[in-house]
């Protein structure tokens, strides 16, 4: 019951768009969608998603393999550096590049910069999976006469499929919803077009229809991933403690590998951070209004905490059902929570504005509404973590606890919670990270006078005050860094991937 309610909340944006389509009628819907401009935006979005997913998958898998399975020198450091781009929001990354050269505007630049921002989303689950693979399978393949490349292609890669598909889906959904970076790189997609439409004609019909098209794309992706994943189970057979996997010696390939990984981290991390530093030091508009900075940082922190707590609270019942009572309905509930990630923040925001004005006037123009928007948008991240966490507490342990005299509450306190707490923490941290760097919904829903790091950064870059924008971006990076660092540690990684 509770879960259904949560799913319904998560689907508010969908109802909003559907309601709009229904109320404006068939003829107008067709007229608004069947336009060359929509086709152009759709193809733009499509090639960007395809390109970025492919590039992120290659970068993420390749680097994960190098770090987890080879004798690459400095693996611990690389592991941190390869995840670190997550601490730099995509729009800050774009800012770093655009403020240096205008040549990154357009498709090629967008492809590169967005992939550089999002490949860690593939790297994390794939490297966790690589770590958990049973070495015996690869040894068996070798004994059957497979060379290293064929073994990778036919034994390792198929086992990585769930992680790779999961990571790719998240990347694709991020790109569908990406606004700040693409706006800055002047590569119009559905999402940026919706924003422009809304800005020019508040609540305009064309924008709502575009939102409908975007939602449809998201639905398509979700079903595609579900189908590709299929019903395969790649569980490890047999018990016993896992052997550590022997690493492949890189030999002469060590130097090129190092150069490749080094180049990647330079592009993904070095350029935006260097650029930020450059503007901090030399920008003509650089200023450090300490009071302002502290106040906005505090606002961001507060919203991040609130968003994390609410999102986890909403994710828990659905994840519980998914793990403990798997069925058609629960899968449907789980999938419905995915929408938030693919719907641009602005659509979530406007859907909530509409709903709030009509049904919940008192929360309009309050932080409550904003936090709800965050919850809808970041529910998928929380879901992944909570589900993984719940897998740590199989139902048989509940049975044992009951047999030993523990009631449901005591079992929760003494068995389930201690087992799932790290995973819940990881999930909350991920949501916190996302909230602190969220831009679009915040721009629209933040009550008048509420200024966050992201919105302050944005208003400064919009007026090309790069120097003034830099301190806010730096603060966002500093706030995100500890959480991102946590993601690179073993225990947390396995919980979040």
């Amino acid at each position: 019951m509770l879960s259904v309610l949560v799913a319904l909340v998560a689907l508010i944006p969908l109802f909003f768009v559907l309601g709009y389509v229904v109320s404006s009628g068939w003829d107008q819907t067709v007229a608004l969608i069947w336009r060359p401009r929509v086709g152009e935006l759709l193809s733009h979005t499509g090639v960007l998603v395809a390109g970025c997913v492919a590039l992120s998958a290659v970068l993420g898998t390749g680097t994960a393999w190098l770090v987890e399975r080879t004798t690459l020198p400095g693996r611990r450091v690389w592991n941190v550096l390869l995840v670190a781009p997550l601490a730099v929001p995509a729009f800050v990354n774009s800012f770093g590049w655009v403020s240096l050269t205008a040549r990154v505007e357009g498709y090629a630049g967008a492809l590169m910069i967005v992939s550089l921002s999002y490949y860690p989303l593939v790297y994390l689950p794939v490297s966790a999976m690589l770590r958990g693979l049973d070495p015996a399978l690869e040894e068996t393949a070798a004994a059957l006469g497979y060379g290293p490349w064929r073994t990778f292609g036919r034994v390792v890669l198929p086992q990585l499929r769930p992680a790779l598909l999961g990571g790719s889906l998240i990347v694709a959904l991020h790109i569908l919803a990406e606004f700040g970076a693409l706006q800055m790189l002047r590569f119009p997609t559905l999402t940026t077009a919706i924003y422009d439409q809304y800005r020019s004609s508040f609540n305009g019909p064309a924008a709502n229809m575009l939102a409908g098209v975007l939602l449809l794309s998201c639905l398509l992706l979700l079903t595609l991933e579900l189908r590709l994943r299929g019903h395969h189970h790649y569980s490890r057979l047999g018990g016993g403690s896992a052997r550590t996997i022997p690493r492949r010696r890189l030999g002469r390939a060590a130097v090129p590998s190092l150069v490749a990984v080094g180049a990647l981290t330079t592009l993904a991390l070095g350029v935006p951070l260097g650029s930020l530093l450059f503007w901090l030091v030399t920008g003509s508009s650089t200023a450090f209004p300490v009071g302002d900075l502290v106040a906005t940082a505090a606002t961001s922190l507060g919203l991040g905490l609130g968003g994390a707590i609410l999102t986890m609270a909403l994710a828990f019942p659905i994840a519980w059902l998914c793990v403990r009572r798997r069925g058609r309905l629960t899968i449907l509930l789980e999938r419905s929570t995915y929408f938030g990630n693919a719907v641009p923040g602005i659509v979530v925001a406007l859907a909530l504005v509409t709903v709030a004005i009509r049904f919940a006037q008192p929360v309009y123009q309050t932080s409550v509404l904003l936090v709800f928007a965050y919850a809808i948008m970041f529910l998928p991240r929380a879901m992944v973590s909570v589900r993984a966490a719940l897998d740590q507490a199989p139902p048989v342990l509940d049975d044992v606890a009951h047999a030993l005299g523990c009631g449901p509450l005591e079992t929760l306190r003494r068995v389930t919670l201690p087992l799932i707490a790290p995973g819940l923490g990881a999930g909350a941290a991920l949501v916190f990270l996302a909230v602190v760097t969220e831009l679009t919904a915040t721009l629209l829903l933040a009550p008048i006078g509420t200024r966050t790091l992201a919105t302050q950064f944005w208003s400064n870059t919009s007026s090309i005050a790069y120097g003034a924008a830099a301190p806010y971006a730096a603060l966002m990076v500093i706030l995100s860094a500890p959480v991102t660092l946590l993601l690179t540690t073993d225990r947390w990684r396995s919980m979040s991937a």
Binding site: A403, L404, G405, L419
Partner: protein
């Protein structure tokens, strides 16, 4: 005294009937094994006794107390029944000591005085006390799981295939240690297993389960020597089935003359011969001649695969490892002891 009484218990999952009217009495202070092939419903029965699931109909009594049936359902945490699941299922976030004291209350839990005693009871050294479950072997995990279940002093322990994940060498020793601990604490146990030798060697009472019903309940000797029907006979051990006419407690067959257990009133019958009843090389006049096809030698004993010359029947004899015939030789075969007879219609 009976520790558990189960009356006419039924349970269905969706359209599949898993339990179809189970009646079982578990006597106090003994091990009752529920033996059956996988999917016969034995684990479901155990879970109903524990209270993890509720039956569709029927009653369960623990001692004199009705815990299930007649509109009453006692939650598992109030049944005071120990439970040892497959693979132990130790709490991974707790060390061995904390696992064992999990079910104790207040001071007893924090003090942990009973840990040493319980570890000794299940045959473990006290050095494992500080270890975590992933640092233990399978057999050790299983023993800790038993100690944990015994700690609150329940009068009944339920064991769900506790040894199936252990390898053969560990299985017997662990099984014996478990039974010894149960006897020492005067605890009644219900053991679910699909392994015949485990059931026969560890249990005082064996309940053979088939398709959601109990086919036979008896001592290990009864279910092996006098199974209720040939299906049970073939499930609890290897069997040679011989068709013959029984006259005055004796039958002549292609294996020579057989002595039938009392109670079968003559006529056509199917007779149950156990492989260890087949004797080789005897000079009994009742014997028949057979050719040795193949020998599986195990050291302590051997399985000899034979073909009876006259009838062409293939059969397996189990003989001591001291004198094993050579393949392709001819041997004299006779059946010793009494054989059970069954009506051919069944």
């Amino acid at each position: 005294m009976t520790a558990v009484t189960v009356r006419n218990l039924t349970k269905a999952f969706g359209s599949s009937e898993v339990l179809r009217g189970i009646d079982l009495m578990v006597p106090e202070e003994g091990v009752t094994a529920i033996l059956g092939p996988s999917g016969c419903g034995k684990t479901t029965l155990l879970r109903l006794i524990a209270g993890f699931d509720a039956p569709d109909s029927g009653e369960i009594l623990l001692g004199e107390q009705l815990v299930c049936g007649n509109g009453r359902f006692v939650a598992p945490q109030h049944r005071r029944v120990g439970y040892v699941p497959q693979e132990g299922a130790l709490f991974p976030h707790l060390d061995v000591g904390d696992n064992i004291t999990f079910g104790l209350l207040g001071r007893a839990r924090r003090g942990g005085h009973r840990v040493e005693e319980l570890l000794a009871l299940v045959g473990l050294d006290s050095v494992v006390r500080q270890r975590f479950p992933h640092q233990l072997s399978g057999g050790q995990q299983q023993r800790v799981a038993l100690a944990r279940a015994l700690a609150p002093g329940p009068s009944l322990i339920l064991l769900d295939e506790p040894f199936s994940s252990l390898d053969a060498g560990l299985r017997e020793g662990t099984g014996r240690a478990v039974v010894a601990a149960l006897k020492a604490t005067h605890t009644t146990a219900v053991l679910v297993t699909h392994d015949q030798s485990e059931a026969l060697s560890l249990a005082d009472q064996v309940a053979v389960m088939r398709d959601g019903t109990l086919a036979q309940v008896g001592t290990p000797h009864e279910v092996y020597r006098a199974p209720a029907d040939l299906g049970v006979a073939e499930f609890v051990g290897a069997a040679v089935v011989v068709d013959a006419d029984v006259v005055d407690g004796s039958a002549s067959s292609d294996l020579g003359r057989l002595h039938v257990t009392a109670g079968y009133d003559g006529g056509r019958a199917r007779l149950l011969v156990r492989p260890e009843q087949i004797e080789l090389g005897g000079s009994s006049p009742a014997g028949v001649e057979a050719r040795v096809v193949e020998v599986s030698y195990f050291g302590h004993d051997a399985a000899v695969h034979l073909q009876v010359l006259a009838s062409g029947r293939l059969l397996t004899a189990r003989v001591s490892g001291r004198s094993v015939p050579v393949p392709d030789t001819l041997v004299q075969v006779s059946v010793t002891g009494q054989v059970a007879a069954y009506s051919p219609e069944v």
